[in-house]
């Protein structure tokens, strides 16, 4: 349907829904006193006086803060004689995601300092386990075994995602290899075979907040952010699609992108290609909006494509899809 027809329908619908409020408005206005706009000169004078008072308050406040800060620093410098030993330092965070999501905190010797469940399923997995103090490899075997016993790891499971955030890069790489190997051995021991994906993560407050807001694990949240960074601007619907993907779908999309993304055309090149295409049709564009979106192919696998909205003139837009590898252009929509 033409855009004008759609807009006309909406306009008609709004018109017929608009209630009659005039009498109620008149009654309320009768109780109000209309405000009279103040002359410009007196407003300026009031502002300068206000500015001087604001400056005085700011200076007084700054002086108070300086005094308080000095006192605090002096207190911190004076030794207290407290002999309480420091808590063990977390050397690495490890996340294991299938659907249950488990977090392990390791010390520098690879011992488990703490083990946390990222969701209800993980609570069930960890309920019979006591992992604090255990070596990392034993903890991994115990977790994989419990996931299998509780029905979370089956022949239908497509992927396990391992995410590691360690204090040093070299240690992080070592842990990623070691944990992946241990998970594979544990899966073999249960006659299971599924893909094991491993990623380095930086667990920031923002990532934790995203995970908490969306009800997903930190590992999955990091993977979603990586995909978004690779693809660039995504629509809200596509971000929603990413967030609701299974670990397996997300891992496969991420792997595909890693292999293919380097060969993608840049958004600037895509825009230039559309511009040339339109010139060939004798059409001049005022504005382009290029974004990446995810579409399912015939096999149900998500693939990234560029979607380009072209603003020709007020009221006329066209949308095209462009293959990011081949540059093939397909018009998908016209609104006039």
């Amino acid at each position: 349907m033409k855009k004008q027809d759609l807009e006309g329908k909406l306009r008609d619908a709004y018109e017929s829904e608009t209630p009659e409020l005039l009498e109620r408005i008149k009654e309320s206005c009768a109780k109000e006193t209309p405000s009279v706009a103040a002359p410009e000169a007196s407003v300026k004078k009031e502002r300068s006086g206000t500015r001087r008072r604001a400056l005085q308050y700011a200076l007084a406040l700054s002086a108070c803060v300086a005094i308080l800060l000095s006192g605090f620093l002096l207190y911190r410098l004076i030794p207290t004689g407290d002999d309480t030993p420091a808590s063990p330092v977390v050397d690495a965070f490890v996340y294991i995601d299938v659907n249950p999501s488990v977090e392990l905190q390791l010390d520098a010797e690879g011992r488990v300092l703490a083990c946390n469940a990222g969701n209800e399923d993980a609570e069930r997995v960890l309920s019979d386990l006591s992992l604090e103090g255990m070596q990392m490899n034993s903890a991994i075997f115990a977790i994989v075994g419990s996931m299998h016993d509780n029905g979370y790891l089956t022949l239908d499971t497509g992927a396990v995602l391992i995410s590691v955030d360690a204090r040093e890069d070299a240690r992080e790489e070592m842990l990623l290899s070691a944990i992946t190997a241990h998970v594979n051995v544990a899966l073999d021991g249960s006659d299971l075979s599924c893909s094991v994906f491993a990623q380095s993560v930086r667990v920031t407050d923002a990532l934790r907040q995203l995970a908490a807001d969306e009800g997903i694990s930190v590992g999955k949240a990091h993977l979603v952010e990586e995909v978004r960074r690779t693809l660039g601007k995504l629509s809200d619907e596509d971000v929603e699609a990413l967030l609701s993907m299974s670990i397996e779908e997300l891992c496969e999309l991420s792997s595909t992108l890693l292999k293919e993304a380097e060969a993608y055309l840049s958004p600037q090149l895509v825009q230039a290609a559309i511009d040339v295409f339109l010139s060939g049709e004798g059409v001049l564009a005022e504005y382009f909006d290029v974004s990446m979106c995810l579409v399912r192919d015939e096999e149900g696998i998500y693939r990234p494509v560029y979607e380009v909205d072209v603003f020709l003139r007020e009221g006329v837009t066209r949308s095209y899809r462009v293959d990011p590898q081949t540059g093939e252009i397909k018009r998908i929509y016209t609104a006039e």
Partner: protein, 189 residues
């Protein structure tokens, strides 16, 4: 004869001109200006509130409050040919005030209760389209499509009113049109 001639002259004004003339009458204390203004923009004001709030009862309250504010501050308006921008700015402030004081969440049941009518007239079909639009589009998409479709604001004017980049407004508008088309065709979004 003179009164008729003045009335004809007003009718020759553009819509913006008629709205400004009504605001000027209101500012001078002529309550008839309020009635003229109301008949010109009642749908614009209500539609915008409904697009933001989705709940018809809340939209009525905001529309009412907006007109009262326009009445109070009519003398503050500077005639620059863009009265709708001034009016929607007032309305946006009323909507934000509403969000600060009331519970924001709206359930689908609050969105224009579906009517069961035997006679599927065009009015009913359009109403269903509006209901689906309010339920399925994001607040930002509803806002842009309503300002453009009902009030005729250009995309650049909408960008200025909402203090958003033109690119953002265009993206939201295009997405909204695509979604409404999909709703029209009965596709699942």
């Amino acid at each position: 004869m003179l009164a008729l001639w003045i009335q004809d002259d007003e009718e020759l004004l553009s819509r913006d001109g008629r709205i400004e003339a009504a605001i000027a009458r209101l500012a001078s204390g002529d309550i008839a200006g309020l009635e003229t203004l109301y008949s010109e923009i009642k749908t614009d004001v209500y539609a915008y509130a409904l697009s933001k709030l989705v709940d018809p009862t809340l939209a009525e309250d905001v529309a009412h409050d907006t007109f009262v504010q326009i009445y109070k501050y009519a003398s503050h308006y500077r005639a620059e040919g863009k009265p709708l921008a001034w009016i929607f700015t007032i309305e946006l402030n009323m909507i934000r005030k509403h969000f600060r004081t009331k519970n924001r969440s709206v359930s689908l049941e609050d969105v224009l209760e579906p009517r069961v009518e035997e006679d599927f007239t065009l009015r009913v079909i359009n109403r269903e389209l509006l209901r689906e639009m309010l339920a399925r589009l994001s607040e930002e998409e509803r806002e842009v499509i309503t300002l453009h479709a009902v009030s005729g604001l250009k995309h650049r004017e909408i960008a200025a009113l909402l203090d958003q980049p033109l690119s953002t407004v265009l993206s939201r508008y295009n997405r909204a049109i695509k979604r409404i088309n999909a709703i029209e065709k009965g596709e699942i979004l």
